[in-house]
């Protein structure tokens, strides 16, 4: 189990310090796929950096620590202090852009064995790599190529191969399929799903696409303005969200076969420099009251295993019904829809 204790991650900028992740307390069970969703700037990538232990100027960890729940070769528990030594072996990272992560002037095979752990047995490791990439649906010769000779989907498969080759306990995937088109995206996601089933590792997946989360994650974490607003099983979260933000995020985009008018989320997230008092989502929330603007709701367990940071979590089902009974696109004047989205906040 990965335990995050009161994580506060701070960026130092020319304007001073700003918290990109603020007070995250979480327990992530072993061998599950956990999805992290939220708008740009909500702190999801920063949380991934903290988990990966990739902390360096301008990012710093002001307080808290991560306990990964496994031990290193010397039998010491792995925490934020020594996670860097476990890179690639017990924790690995799949980035969004494979083109800027692979070295363009090195063959893939050289990049595979380009670290000290393989010293003295590079040939042996390469033979294993060949059979491994074949299992991932790539021709074994693919590792003899330079990155630019492969297509985007093949490169992303190579990144998945690199991240999973040593069967790490934890895999962090930051928007692994955003740059790919839907057909390739599906094959990569199913590949990740199969590998996870086989190896039983924990995958943390960041994506802005709620459909991707629904397809492959078992638990979900929704972040808003540097805080966790909801944490629950994916099934429950999609069926009955307990935070209005989650609900509106799911309902913001159209789906095929559904003719209801959509207007996205009104307004935009608050600037990290000027956080509103009370609940950070209150200015955009249809359920907000004076209480929301005054006191900040803590993340608490409303139903067993379902955490939500909302004073009115019990009213969210009502809101869901209202949204689902919304008018069809053909029935309304589009100009009104625009006005709704522009609602002054």
């Amino acid at each position: 189990m990965i335990r995050l204790e009161n994580i506060v991650a701070t960026y130092t900028t020319h304007r001073g310090q700003v918290h990109a992740v603020e007070g995250v307390n979480l327990e992530i069970p072993d061998s599950t796929i956990v999805g992290i969703a939220g708008e740009s700037g909500c702190g999801k990538s920063t949380l991934m950096k903290v988990l990966y232990g990739d902390i360096g100027f301008p990012l710093s960890l002001s307080s808290g620590k991560v306990d990964y729940g496994f031990v290193n070769d010397r039998g010491e528990p792995v925490t934020t202090e020594n996670i860097r030594d476990e890179w690639f072996r017990r924790i690995s990272y799949i980035p969004q852009s494979s083109m800027s992560s692979l070295n363009p002037v090195m063959r893939i095979r050289d990049q595979f064995v380009d670290f000290p752990a393989t010293a003295g047995r590079k040939k042996e490791v390469l033979a294993q790599v060949r059979s491994f990439v074949q299992k991932l649906g790539l021709p074994p010769q693919a590792i003899d190529a330079y990155p630019h000779q492969l297509s985007g989907g093949m490169r992303q498969r190579i990144m998945v191969a690199m991240a999973t080759f040593f069967q790490p306990e934890v895999i962090l995937a930051d928007e692994p399929t955003t740059a790919l088109d839907v057909v390739v995206q599906k094959s990569i996601l199913l590949l990740l799903l199969d590998l996870q089933k086989e190896m039983g590792n924990t995958i943390l997946l960041v994506s802005h696409d709620m459909g991707v989360h629904y397809q492959i994650t078992r638990k979900m974490l929704i972040m808003y303005a540097a805080k966790v607003v909801e944490y629950a099983d994916t099934d429950d979260l999609f069926q009955q969200p307990l935070h209005p933000y989650t609900l509106m995020l799911i309902h913001s985009l159209p789906t095929i076969g559904d003719d209801r008018a959509r207007h996205g989320l009104p307004g935009s997230p608050p600037s990290l420099w000027e956080m509103p008092q009370g609940c950070r989502f209150a200015p955009r929330c249809p359920l907000a009251t004076a209480r929301c603007r005054r006191e900040e709701p803590p993340l608490k367990e409303h139903v067993r295993g379902r955490f939500s940071a909302c004073h009115y979590a019990n009213s969210v089902p009502e809101l869901k019904k209202t949204l689902e009974a919304g008018p069809k696109l053909s029935e309304i004047n589009v100009m009104e829809l625009m006005a709704e989205a522009e609602r002054d906040i």
């Binding site: 708008e39 740009s40 985007g152 790919l180 088109d181 839907v182 057909v183 390739v184 995206q185 599906k186 094959s187 996601l189 199913l190 799903l193 802005h208 696409d209 709620m210 459909g211 991707v212 629904y214 397809q215 492959i216 999609f238 509106m248 995020l249 799911i250 913001s252 985009l253 159209p254 789906t255 095929i256 076969g257 008018a261 959509r262 207007h263 996205g264 989320l265 935009s268 696109l329 589009v334 100009m335 829809l337 625009m338 989205a341 522009e342």
Partner: protein, 283 residues
């Protein structure tokens, strides 16, 4: 009936690499499209990366010369036989919106300078009329001239700047706007503002849109017609709602199966297939 867009046997071949090793890539392969309508329409062009969507857009915008074939856009001959319009005349009928607004505007010039220049050079307006046209176009996209004036692109968010670039495209009152992936750079929660804006502008400005995207869900939401491209060919064309609810071509079906939907899970489908209960084939 007005012809909004017509292409006849359109081909485009790119030569990649230098002479001895140069390879041919056929980006457009006999593209035949004909859209005629009295009312303005939104046409979606969907397909995977490398299917030729952007090349078709570039040909329509006169940014790329086709290898062969004819193109007519809103009564103007772009390629093939006939009198070609001057660039200014052409830009008064067809305007582009690009994927990344931060690349579309130079970061060393203010956004309002671009808008005014479009009004003066393309719209052929005098200074006063130009300011008024800019004000109108900005209010149509929900922005105000005084908020844009003197600001550089980096002072806007992605969504705002994209709306400014839509306003710029509206100034000459074009009959067709070609929007190449206009929302893919914008946060998912803010995308619908742009999408709904297209619908509103279609009504208000009587402008047709060619909406190029790989997102089938938003294509379903706004478009009247849809064209599915694959390997340089248009494999399916028709009424958007019909094509996407009852696809005829297997490539359209493949695209539809690959969208991460919110009702069925791929894993369940695959398990069911393995149990022999469904006809679904895992690709």
């Amino acid at each position: 009936m007005k012809t909004i867009l017509k292409t006849e046997n359109l081909n485009k071949t790119y030569h990649l690499g230098s002479f001895p090793r140069s390879i041919k890539v056929q980006a457009l392969n006999d593209v035949n499209l004909s859209i005629e309508s009295e009312q303005p329409v939104i046409i979606s062009l969907v397909g995977e990366s490398g299917s030729g969507k952007t090349t078709l857009a570039k040909v329509i915008l006169r940014l790329v010369q086709p290898s062969s074939g004819a193109v007519t856009v809103a009564g103007h001959v772009v390629a093939g036989k006939g009198v070609r319009p001057s660039q200014t005349e052409f830009l008064r009928t067809v305007q582009p919106i690009f994927q990344n607004p931060f690349e579309a505007f130079s970061q060393y010039r203010t956004v309002d300078a671009y808008l005014l220049e479009t009004a003066v050079r393309v719209g052929g307006m005098a200074k006063d009329a130009a300011v008024q046209a800019v004000e109108e176009a900005l209010s149509a996209v929900g922005m105000e001239y005084k908020d844009v004036r003197g600001k550089y692109p980096n002072q806007f968010s992605g969504g705002e700047l994209q709306r400014a670039s839509i306003a710029r495209a509206l100034i000459p009152r074009p009959q067709l706007i070609v929007a190449d992936e206009p929302v893919s750079m914008i946060d998912a929660s803010r995308r619908m503002i742009i999408i709904n804006l297209f619908l509103a502008l279609k009504q208000e400005f009587q402008t047709s849109f060619l909406y190029i995207t790989h997102d089938l869900a938003t294509a379903y939401y706004i478009s009247d017609y849809i064209a599915v491209m694959h390997k340089g060919r248009i494999v399916e064309f028709g009424d958007a709602k019909q094509v996407l609810s009852r696809p005829q071509h297997e490539y359209t079906q493949l695209l539809l199966d690959s969208i991460p939907r919110l009702d069925v899970r791929w894993v369940d489908l695959r398990n069911a297939a393995q149990n022999g209960k469904a006809k679904y084939v895992a690709r």
